[in-house]
Structures are given as structure tokens and as C-alpha cells.
């Protein structure tokens, strides 16, 4: 720091000459990032054309035709409903289960037992969605364990093919996400809890507070900032309901509830070759994402929390 201040700045090009090695270490990688992240943005022009791969960017310009089509397409409305519903369920479940589990784990005094349960619960985070989809379809088969358990509990008379029940699909995705990520998501809350001053708990105990009142009055306020930051950040991703799990578990029977915006894009582009409409759909999602993210960032700043961007 002091050296940077004391040194008289010798002009941009001259400095750059002495920093040739730093330039060589960074410039090619930055160019690579530009090529793979920013250059494809030029492809958004496809959304305003009747894009034909053979003609490339010399295709016919059609203005906002595809966006008009998109917003009048009933399928798109349905897809938006599914996307928002699934990401809302994911959001609520994700928070509720992770916070609940973190609070419970935090109360477990047996260190080794706690460690063991945590280690096991992190495991699914490292599995691919393909594996998870394989496990889920085994569990939910008509002779699968889920039906058996429902039978035991007297909640269902007949075994059902759950992946064939359209209305069940959102909840399957929600619980699958919980299964995969709940353990992993507790980590950040447990870290926040470990920062709470133990003296607070001792003082509460002397005052005769029970477990629940300690949780309500010390633990929850202690992790509140973490919850708020994560909540705001996640609201910025509300257009992302996930793609892989829906793609892998969808079938003809649940299509009306399983198709998300990403699958819509894939279907139009890959199956029907309508790259223009697919790009318009993707572009709509990206733009909404960026707007939501900026809003979330702004709200975060207003609330005095750390800015995310």
C-alpha cells in the first residue's frame, strides 16, 4: 500500500510495459471470458429475426414478432406459472427446512453424533441431478417405498404412480430439492449461530428461559441478518426454478405441470428448430433476472446489508 502511494505514477503505457508479465497472465483469460460470456449476447439478435441457421445473421428481420408470439402463447403462460410456482415452493421449503434443521442441529450437544448426521446430510449435494432423478423415480414407483409408507400411515388406499400425477409434480420437485440441499444449506446458518455469544444463552438460563424461548429470543435474532441477505439474493433468482430435475422427471402425463421456461426454450430450439422463439424466451428470462437482481441489490443496500454486486 505505502509503496503504491509513494511511487509517482509513471503513466499508463509505461506502467503497462513494466507489468508485461501480469498482462500476459490475465489478458488471454479475460479475452476468453469475453468470448464465452459476452460475445454470445450478439446472438440475441436472433430473437428479432426469422433465424435460419443456413443464412446466419443475414436472416430476415421481423422486429418483436417473437415476443408478441411469446406473450400471446398459452403454453408460455403455463410455463411461466410452472416456473414461478416451482421456484416459490423451492424458496419457501429451502428456507424453512434448512433453518429448522440448523436450529435442531445447533441444540445437539453430542459432538460426534452431530458431526455424523451433518456429514451424511451433505452427501446428496455432491450428486448429479441424474442420480437424484434415478433415486426419486425408484422411490416414487407404484411399488416404491413412498407408496408403502403412505399405506402404513393410512394416508392412501391405493399405490399411485406419483410421477404420473400432474398436480404432485411441483411438490415432488420441492421435496427433492430439500432432500438434495437441506444439509448443505444448514452450513451457513450454523456458521451464523456459532458466532452468537454463549454468554447470552447463559444469561437467559439464569433468568429461567426454556429452550424454546432461547431459540426464539437469541438464536433466531442471531441468524436474522443471514436469513435476510439470503432471502433477498434468492428473490433475484425467482425465474430459475431449476432445469435438470424437471427435464429428467417430466413425462407425457405430467407435462402441463412440469414444463418450465428452460424446457420450453429447449423444446422450441432443439425439437422444432425455432431458434428465434427459443432465444426470445431465454432473453426474456435473462432480462427479468438482471432486473430482479439489481432490485434485490438495491433493496439490500437500502436495508444496510452488504451489497451483493
Amino acid at each position: 500500500m505505502p509503496s503504491a502511494v509513494l511511487r509517482k505514477s509513471p503513466g499508463f503505457w509505461k506502467s503497462l510495459m513494466t507489468q508485461r508479465q501480469l498482462l500476459w497472465m490475465s489478458l488471454p483469460i479475460v479475452l476468453y471470458v469475453i468470448l464465452f460470456t459476452y460475445v454470445p449476447l450478439a446472438g440475441w439478435t436472433m430473437a428479432f429475426q426469422d433465424f435460419k441457421p443456413a443464412k446466419g445473421f443475414a436472416s430476415l428481420w421481423v422486429g418483436v414478432k417473437w415476443f408478441k408470439y411469446l406473450f400471446s402463447d398459452e403454453l408460455f403462460t403455463m410455463v411461466m406459472r410452472n416456473t414461478l410456482a416451482m421456484s416459490f415452493i423451492n424458496l419457501v421449503f429451502g428456507f424453512a427446512f434448512a433453518i429448522g434443521l440448523a436450529i435442531t442441529l445447533n441444540e445437539v450437544k453430542a459432538k460426534r453424533l452431530k458431526r455424523f448426521a451433518q456429514t451424511i446430510s451433505y452427501l446428496p449435494h455432491f450428486l448429479s441431478w441424474v442420480v437424484v432423478a434415478g433415486l426419486v423415480s425408484t422411490m416414487l414407483a407404484s411399488d416404491g417405498v413412498f407408496n408403502i409408507v403412505l399405506g402404513w400411515l393410512g394416508l392412501a388406499k391405493e399405490p399411485k404412480l406419483w410421477l404420473g400425477e400432474p398436480k404432485a409434480f411441483w411438490w415432488i420437485v420441492g421435496f427433492t430439492n430439500v432432500w438434495k440441499e437441506v444439509g448443505w444449506n444448514t452450513i451457513i446458518y450454523l456458521a451464523a449461530m456459532s458466532a452468537i455469544d454463549p454468554a447470552l444463552y447463559e444469561a437467559a438460563e439464569i433468568d429461567g428461559c426454556g429452550r424454546l424461548s432461547k431459540i426464539r429470543n437469541i438464536t433466531l435474532p442471531g441468524i436474522k441478518p443471514t436469513i435476510i441477505v439470503l432471502l433477498i439474493m434468492n428473490l433475484g433468482w425467482i425465474m430459475e426454478s431449476g432445469f435438470e430435475i424437471q427435464y429428467l422427471l417430466r413425462n407425457g402425463m405430467n407435462a402441463d405441470y412440469s414444463q418450465s421456461i428452460d424446457i420450453y426454450v429447449v423444446n422450441y430450439g432443439m425439437r422444432q428448430g425455432n431458434y428465434s422463439l427459443a432465444t426470445a424466451g431465454g432473453m426474456f428470462k435473462s432480462v427479468v433476472n438482471i432486473l430482479l437482481l439489481l432490485t434485490a441489490n438495491w433493496v439490500s443496500g437500502k436495508l444496510g446489508e452488504e451489497k451483493l454486486v
Partner: protein, 311 residues
């Protein structure tokens, strides 16, 4: 009357009961989380080891009824597992090495305060986290670079991640400046400093980042579908499993339509079923992660503190 629980003394029956109830609740939650996490693997494992036609009779939950390795033998050949394993390992290893090397090099260069292009370059890299042109614009870029249909499409598009960049740069910033400063005064170039100081010093954070890059590369399958679906020799393990899964989805769809008798006749004709095949494939794709998992724990626990900066 004195009541004791876990070495603690309770003054009233009420607080004793509350505490006892809480202990029961904790035990139930811990048991549930362990069972619910592990049971699906166990169930899938026993199905994969049970004779396929027998499995369709149902009831395979805890132990195989008729042991067989037929399901594994069958996918070993049909899904070309040896080749898929090779591609998946090659992908994970080369992706990890390239990612770590390039990201650390970039992170070092952009952590030098005196570097005149530090700000614009950092901005470009960080913003890339939020910019996504979408599926087809990216698809056409890959096509115009002629990466589709090659192994390189697995490696080249994902060599740098802004998130890992932040993690590594944050770590480099904790290294005392004096180490670099004295080396520089001795006339050591930045390449040398990077190789002889930065890389070795970054080992702890690199272990963690390596874990995440490797797992990500191992688990990917959609790029195979998008770019290499007509190149069976480049199929990864996850892609092969995806194909098996889709087959079984189609089967269960038709199972709902076709009457059971026709279905059963159909199944008996073959010695394997999509359900059993799917189970065997799932175990194949999970086993490597399960095997390395116990050894990796310490790395992701250490790395989480670093990762929590931005998450």
C-alpha cells in the same frame, strides 16, 4: 424430588418433561435425516442386485430376493461403461487442472494492486457471473468454434468461473504482501512468483475449489446431450445414466397405459428391465462419489469459510 437428565438437575416436573420431549425430538430428527438421506441409495442398491423380472413383483426394499449381477453386466456392455468411465474421469481431471491453473493465475494477476488494468479486468470477470446469453446463443458460439462433436466441448467453455475466482483471490489477498515484495525486489518475474510462491501457498483453498470443479465436471450431462449426442464414443457416465433413466420413464408411462398382462409378457421376454437397469446405472454413477466422499470432507469443511463470503 430431584430429576436428572444429561447430568443436569431439574427443579420442576414441567421443565424436566419439556427437556425430555426436546431430547426425543432431536433424536427423531437426527435419525430421520440419516435414514431419509441414506435409504434411497440402499433401496436402489438392493434393486440393482436383484433379479430383474423378480423385481417387478415388488417388495424389494431391504434385501435382494434373488441375487444377480446380471443388471450390472448388462449395462456394462449396452451403456459401454468402460468408455463412459474413461471419458468422465478424463473430463473431470483435465477440467480441474485447467480450471485451477488458469483461475489462480488470473486471481494472482488481478490481486496485484499496482496492475493498471486490474479494475476493468476484474469488472469483466465478476460481471460474467450475472450475464448469460442463454442456451442457443451459446450453442451457436460453440458450433462456430467447431467445438461440438469433440471432447474439448467439455473442457473449454467452462475453464473459468467467477465464483472460484472470487474465492481464490480472497485467499491470495490474505497472503502477506511482503513475500511477493521481497521476491520482486530480487528481480523475480511475476510468472516465477506465481509458480514458486502463489501456487504452493494456495494449496488449502485449491483443494477445496478442486473438489467443487471436479464434482461439477463429473456430474454434468446436458452438454453431452446438446453437442455430442451423435458421438457415442464421447458419452459420459452421467449421460449414459440419463439415457437409461429416460428409457425407464417411457416404460413407466406405457405401463400406465398398457394392461398388466401385456406388460408382463413384454418383460419376461428379456432378462433385464428398465427399472433394474436404471438402478444399476444409478449405483455406477454414484459409487465413485461415495468412495471419495469420506476423504474429501475435511476439504469442503475448510473451504466453506472461504465460500461463505459471497454465498
Amino acid at each position: 424430588m430431584t430429576l436428572r437428565l444429561g447430568g443436569k438437575l431439574y427443579l420442576s416436573t414441567r421443565s424436566y418433561l419439556a427437556e425430555a420431549g426436546f431430547s426425543v425430538y432431536k433424536a427423531v430428527v437426527l435419525t430421520a435425516i440419516v435414514l431419509i438421506t441414506l435409504y434411497p441409495f440402499w433401496n436402489t442398491l438392493v434393486i440393482s442386485l436383484n433379479q430383474a423380472v423378480d423385481t417387478t413383483r415388488g417388495g424389494i426394499y431391504l434385501w435382494p430376493r434373488i441375487w444377480t449381477f446380471q443388471n450390472y453386466k448388462s449395462i456394462w456392455v449396452t451403456a459401454n461403461i468402460p468408455n463412459a468411465l474413461f471419458i468422465s474421469v478424463a473430463r473431470a481431471v483435465s477440467s480441474t487442472i485447467l480450471n485451477l491453473f488458469l483461475t489462480t493465475m488470473l486471481a494472482y494477476a488481478l490481486s496485484r494492486r499496482e496492475f493498471v488494468l486490474r479494475r476493468p479486468f476484474t469488472m469483466i470477470v465478476l460481471l460474467s457471473m450475472y450475464v448469460n446469453a442463454g442456451l442457443f446463443p451459446n450453442y451457436f458460439l460453440i458450433r462456430s468454434l467447431h467445438l461440438n462433436g469433440t471432447f474439448w466441448v467439455y473442457i473449454i467453455p467452462s475453464m473459468i468461473s467467477a465464483f472460484n475466482f472470487i474465492v481464490i483471490r480472497t485467499f491470495i489477498k490474505t497472503i502477506p504482501d511482503s513475500i511477493f515484495e521481497s521476491a520482486r525486489i530480487d528481480g523475480t518475474g511475476d510468472f516465477r512468483i506465481f509458480r514458486s510462491f502463489v501456487l504452493p501457498l494456495c494449496k488449502p483453498v485449491l483443494a477445496t475449489v478442486a473438489l467443487f470443479v471436479a464434482v461439477g465436471a463429473w456430474n454434468a450431462w446436458f452438454d453431452t446431450l446438446l453437442y455430442n449426442s451423435n458421438k457415442p464414443e464421447l458419452f459420459t457416465l452421467q449421460y449414459q445414466l440419463m439415457a437409461l433413466l429416460q428409457q425407464s420413464m417411457n416404460q413407466s408411462r406405457s405401463a400406465a397405459d398398457i394392461n398388466t398382462a401385456g406388460m408382463a409378457a413384454n418383460i419376461i421376454a428379456s432378462t433385464v428391465t428398465p427399472i433394474s437397469i436404471r438402478a444399476a446405472g444409478t449405483i455406477f454413477a454414484t459409487a465413485p462419489i461415495l468412495m471419495v466422499y469420506p476423504f474429501l470432507q475435511k476439504y469442503f469443511v475448510v473451504g466453506l469459510n472461504v465460500g461463505s463470503i459471497k454465498e
